[in-house]
Symmetry: C2
Subunit: 169 residues, 2 copies
DNA sequence: AATAACTTTCAGTATATCTTGAAAGTTTTA
DNA sequence: TAAAACTTTCAAGATATACTGAAAGTTATT
C-alpha cells in the first residue's frame, strides 16, 4: 500500500464510520481529509479530492465549522477561503461528545424525568414495571451523562490512565 | 400526561434516538415496546401498536433476535409466535456495544494497524504528519476498545461506582 | 461603478434506506 | 392430505437524506 492510497483508505473509513453513527458521510470525509492535511485546504481542493459538488462541499464545511472542528483561515494575498481542521484527536472526540450529548442525550433525560414524575401514583403491575423500566433507563442515561461531563473536564492522559487502570489485570 | 401517552412517548423517543445512532427506527421502537411490556408480544400486536406492515415487523423482530435482544417464546395451546425483549438495561447496553464493536470498531483498528505498518519508512513532513495522525487515532481507538472490553466483563454497579468516583468532587 | 473572484443558497434530482403487501413457504389441525 | 393458521421473503413502491449545479449574493479589484 502506498502512502497516497493509505490516506484515501483513511478518508473512506472515516466516512463509513461516520455514516454508521449518524454523521453525514461527506462531512466525515472532509473532516478526515483535513485531519491528515498539514496545509489549509480550499473548497476547490476538497471538491476535487472527494469528487463532490461545490454546494455539497460548502454546506458540509459550514456544518463542520458549526461543530467547531474546522476553522476558516485567510492566506495573505489570497482571496479564496481556506480551512484547517482540528488535529487533536482527543479534542475532536470531546467536541463531538459535547454536541451529541446536547442534541440527543439531554432531551431523552428530560423526557425520562417527566415520565417519572407523572408516573408516581401507579397501582397495577404493568405500570409498576413501566415505572421500573423508565427508572433503570434513566439511571443508565444519567450515568452516561456524568461520564461525558467528566470527559469534558478530563485531560486525555489522566482520563485513560485512570480508566484503563480500573480494568487492569 | 397519562400512562399510555407516556409509553408512546417512550417508544417514540427510543426510535428517534436509535435512528440518530445508525439503528433502524422501527427496530428501536419494537425494542422499546418490548422493554415496557411485561407480556410477550405477537407480530400482530406489534404491527397494530406501531402501525407497520407484517413484513416490516417480521424483519425487524428477526434482526432484534439476531442481536440477542429478543427471544421467541411459545405459549401453551397457542400456535402463534410470541416474543419477549431483554429487560435488563445494562445487559442491553453491553450487547449493543458488543455487536457494534465487532462490526465497526474492529475493522477500523485493523485498517489503522495496516496503515501504520506500511507507513514506517516515511521521510517528508507531510507523511510524518499523516503517520502521527494515524497513530493518535489508533491510540484513541485502542483505548475505546479496551474500555468496551472492560465493560463486557464488568458488573453494572461495580463499573459505575468506580467510574463515577473518578470524577467525584 | 463595473467587472472579476469567490461564496452561498436552494429547487430539483439522485441515491440510499425503509416499508409494504402479496405470494410462497411452513407447520398444524381436522 | 387438504385446508387453515401462521411465518417468511422480496420485488416494487415510498420515504428520507444527500448532492448537484446554476443562479443569486458578496466582496475585492481595476
Amino acid at each position: 500500500m502506498q502512502i497516497k492510497e493509505a490516506k484515501q483508505q483513511f478518508v473512506q473509513a472515516w466516512g463509513a464510520l461516520g455514516s454508521q453513527w449518524g454523521i453525514n458521510k461527506t462531512m466525515a470525509q472532509i473532516h478526515a481529509l483535513m485531519m491528515v492535511s498539514t496545509e489549509a485546504l480550499s473548497t476547490e481542493q476538497i471538491m476535487e479530492e472527494l469528487s463532490i459538488s461545490r454546494g455539497n462541499a460548502n454546506m458540509n464545511i459550514r456544518e463542520l465549522t458549526d461543530w467547531g472542528l474546522v476553522t476558516k483561515v485567510f492566506k495573505p494575498g489570497e482571496r479564496r477561503d481556506y480551512f484547517i481542521g482540528e488535529k487533536d484527536v482527543w479534542k475532536i472526540a470531546k467536541q463531538v461528545a459535547k454536541i451529541r450529548k446536547t442534541r440527543e442525550l439531554d432531551p431523552i433525560l428530560k423526557l425520562l424525568s417527566e415520565i417519572k414524575n407523572i408516573d408516581s401514583f401507579v397501582k397495577n403491575e404493568d405500570n409498576k414495571h413501566f415505572q421500573k423500566m423508565v427508572n433503570d433507563v434513566h439511571k443508565l442515561a444519567l450515568n452516561v451523562d456524568r461520564l461525558i461531563e467528566g470527559i469534558f473536564k478530563a485531560e486525555e492522559s489522566w482520563f485513560w490512565d485512570k480508566i484503563l487502570k480500573l480494568f487492569a489485570k
